[in-house]
């Protein structure tokens, strides 16, 4: 190595020194991760993680898992709506390239969701392979406040992280207190119908119906444990749910016209409801902090006596805190006034 290059290298290492100060963060899976104290460029491995990073430090988020469509982008500031699509790194369907992480000069990779062994090993592999610290946060509803605090510290935004965590914590506590007022015999049998035919549902313990579990609802499909499952229409008729929640607009439109469904109690009493989906779905996907709104929405539909009927103020506050932009009156009307979202 010649002298000049050596001096340059030395100079570089000196100027870099403050930035390379380390902090140690214990993530949601109990992994101790060394990361720089100044984290500026964050790659989120999936939509739930994107939402957490975006809520705490939107300017540090490098991009979204999937680019915003125009109707979704309207709910965030234009510069955030225009962030590039970077693909997802974990779970089903890896669409991101590990080299992209390096090319983007990523300081930190964040994933939120399951902390099972599969995801821990994936986090460790990516971290070893790229040398980029990788935080794995617990995505369950109850763990979201802790995840927000951890991420706040990691991003150098501990105060903001704690503020958002407090918000979620008090919302969860409020929901629990409201649910506790509802006597078991006043809880309707509820069926969650997914897919265009409405015949896929979430069994007990599946992340798709975590909301229902949280609300102490009587999910008719909870006699089985597992993830998503296909059921027959006859089985739904046998269950005879009093409330049907769905995320599929095609199913919502078809169920009123389909003669086979007319015998179900929920259809006769007009208690079939379609979850809002902008900019992120309220019910089960993506399974992130967005579901806090879903708790109030589903709570109102299941237990109208125990939950506030007006969601506008809550939606506006949530958007302002987590998406950095309060929705306009027209947007609120569109969100809550879409056919099926609320009882008429």
């Amino acid at each position: 190595m010649n002298g000049r290059a050596y001096i340059l290298l030395l100079a570089a290492s000196v100027t870099c020194a403050p930035a390379s100060a380390q902090q140690r963060i214990v993530d949601g899976a109990g992994r101790a991760v060394e990361l720089p104290t100044r984290v500026e460029r964050v790659y989120a491995a999936g939509p739930p993680a994107s939402m957490l990073v975006f809520a705490i430090a939107p300017d540090k988020l490098l991009g979204w898992t999937r680019a915003f469509r125009p109707n979704e982008a309207a709910f965030v500031a234009p510069k955030y709506g225009a962030l590039p699509e970077l693909g997802r790194l974990t779970g089903r369907g890896n669409t991101a390239n590990v080299e992209v992480l390096l090319q983007l000069k990523t300081d930190l990779v964040v994933d939120a969701g399951s902390t099972a062994e599969t995801y821990v090993s994936l986090a460790n592999r990516v971290q070893q392979q790229t040398g980029i610290p990788y935080l794995l946060l617990d995505g369950r509803l109850d763990a979201i406040p802790a995840s927000l605090r951890t991420l706040g510290r990691a991003l150098g935004e501990a105060t903001r992280g704690a503020m958002l965590a407090d918000y979620v914590e008090s919302a969860l506590k409020d929901v629990k207190a409201r649910v506790a007022q509802v006597k078991p015999e006043d809880r309707p049998r509820v069926y969650y119908g997914r897919g265009p035919a409405g015949l896929q549902t979430g069994l007990a313990g599946s992340i798709n119906v975590e909301l229902l579990d949280y609300l102490g609802a009587r999910n008719v499909a909870a006699e089985g444990r597992g993830g998503l499952a296909q059921v027959s229409l006859e089985q739904v008729l046998a269950w005879d749910p009093q409330v049907i929640l769905t995320t599929d607009p095609n199913f919502y439109a078809a169920v009123w016209k389909d003669a086979r469904w007319q015998g179900v109690a929920a259809i006769r009493s007009k208690r079939v409801h379609l979850a809002p989906h902008l900019p992120f779905g309220w019910f089960d996907f993506p399974p992130g902090v967005n579901r806090v709104l879903g708790l109030y929405w589903a709570g109102l539909l299941l237990y109208p006596q125990a939950f506030p009927a007006d969601l506008r103020a809550r939606v506006a506050e949530f958007h302002r805190l987590f998406y950095h932009q309060a929705p306009t009156e027209a947007q609120l009307d569109a969100l809550l006034g879409e056919p099926g979202v609320l009882p008429r």
């Binding site: 369907g93 015949l199 089985g224 499952a229 229409l233 006859e234 439109a253 015998g263 996907f285």
Partner: protein, 335 residues
């Protein structure tokens, strides 16, 4: 009583018993009395007060599903029988020329575009027909090759191409929402069948069956080498095109409502051949009876053993394999 007659009577009896059982069994409790009352009131017009929802279950949910299982099973078995005879190969199944893969690509595209169920089925049906049309067009315009061989090879390569199209759409689909729907469609299921689906698939299957029945005698000649068949005055090219069109129509219609259910089109024709021999006129009806009975038995199990549905593709192989091996071992008839 000849062995063939015995096979026919046995298959018919099994089919009748299974159909009765399938109507009586299900997750929604309907008593035998109510079932008889419901049919009695429809057929003889006497008044019978059914419990709530029982009528919907019998005539709109379970009934169409039972009949759809019969139609789909028969259609797949008929198409398989025709293909195995025509390609002179016992390892051929009705999706040899890409009909299932084409239908799957159509359905996956429909799900990817978030269309309703009916549109997804139309996409699937059209995809199946288009795939086979493409294979036939390419395969028959390749000069200087054995026509059957070029059809089979084209079918394989186009099938692979369509398969990669499916893989690409799965990759691009929303992993929380669309990917599970695609996976369930590809696993196959009769859970969502409604009366309109049943009507459509029955009409299309019948339209495919008719030419096969009319051509049943000439079908035997397709098993001969082409020059011999021509010497007997058969235009093999036209006959083959007609049989492919008929079998494709049946398979595409079946796959559009049921998703991909393997095994039946491949192995039921063998079972029938072991019982009555290779004559197409005798073979086709028995294969259809066996296919219908087999899929009905499988689907009845699928919808009754657990609150959630069991994918029929899993059970067809689990039940079909031991049955087929037993039949194979017990039979002394050659091909």
């Amino acid at each position: 009583m000849s062995r063939g007659t015995a096979a026919y009577l046995g298959a018919l009896a099994a089919l009748a018993a299974l159909t009765a059982l399938a109507f009586a069994a299900g997750r929604f409790p309907v008593s035998i009395v109510d079932l008889l009352g419901a049919f009695g009131s429809k057929v003889f017009g006497f008044a019978y007060a059914l419990p709530e929802n029982a009528e919907t279950v019998i005539f709109r949910v379970r009934g169409p599903r039972v009949l759809a299982a019969l139609v789909v099973g028969a259609a797949l078995a008929a198409a398989g029988t025709a293909y195995q005879g025509m390609f002179r190969n016992p390892l051929v199944s009705p999706d040899l020329l890409g009909v299932s893969t084409g239908a799957a690509l159509g359905a996956v595209l429909g799900i990817f575009l978030s269309r309703d169920v009916w549109t997804i089925q139309v996409f699937a049906f059209a995809g199946g027909l288009a795939a086979v049309a493409l294979v036939y067009w390419i395969g028959s315009s390749v000069p200087r090759h054995d026509p059957l061989l070029s059809l089979v090879l084209t079918g394989i390569v186009i099938g692979t191409l369509l398969g990669s199209g499916i893989a690409l759409l799965k990759y691009l689909a929303d992993p929380y929402n669309q990917l599970p729907a695609i996976t369930y469609w590809l696993l196959g299921s009769l859970a969502a069948v409604n009366p309109a689906d049943l009507g459509a698939v029955s009409l299309l299957a019948l339209a495919g069956l008719l030419p096969m029945l009319l051509l049943r005698w000439r079908m035997n000649l397709l098993a001969l080498p082409d020059d011999e068949a021509r010497a007997l005055g058969v235009n093999t090219t036209r006959l083959r095109a007609a049989v492919i069109a008929a079998a494709t129509l049946m398979t595409a219609a079946a796959v559009a409502v049921s998703g991909i259910i393997g095994w039946i089109g491949l192995l039921v024709p063998h079972a029938a051949r072991l019982l009555v021999g290779p004559d197409f006129g005798r073979l086709l009806p028995l294969a259809m009876l066996l296919g219908a009975a087999f899929l009905l038995a499988v689907d009845t199990l699928c919808r009754t053993v657990a609150p959630i549905e069991v994918p029929p593709g899993v059970l067809t192989a689990m039940l079909g394999t031991p049955f087929f091996l037993w039949l194979f071992a017990a039979s002394r008839r050659g091909w």
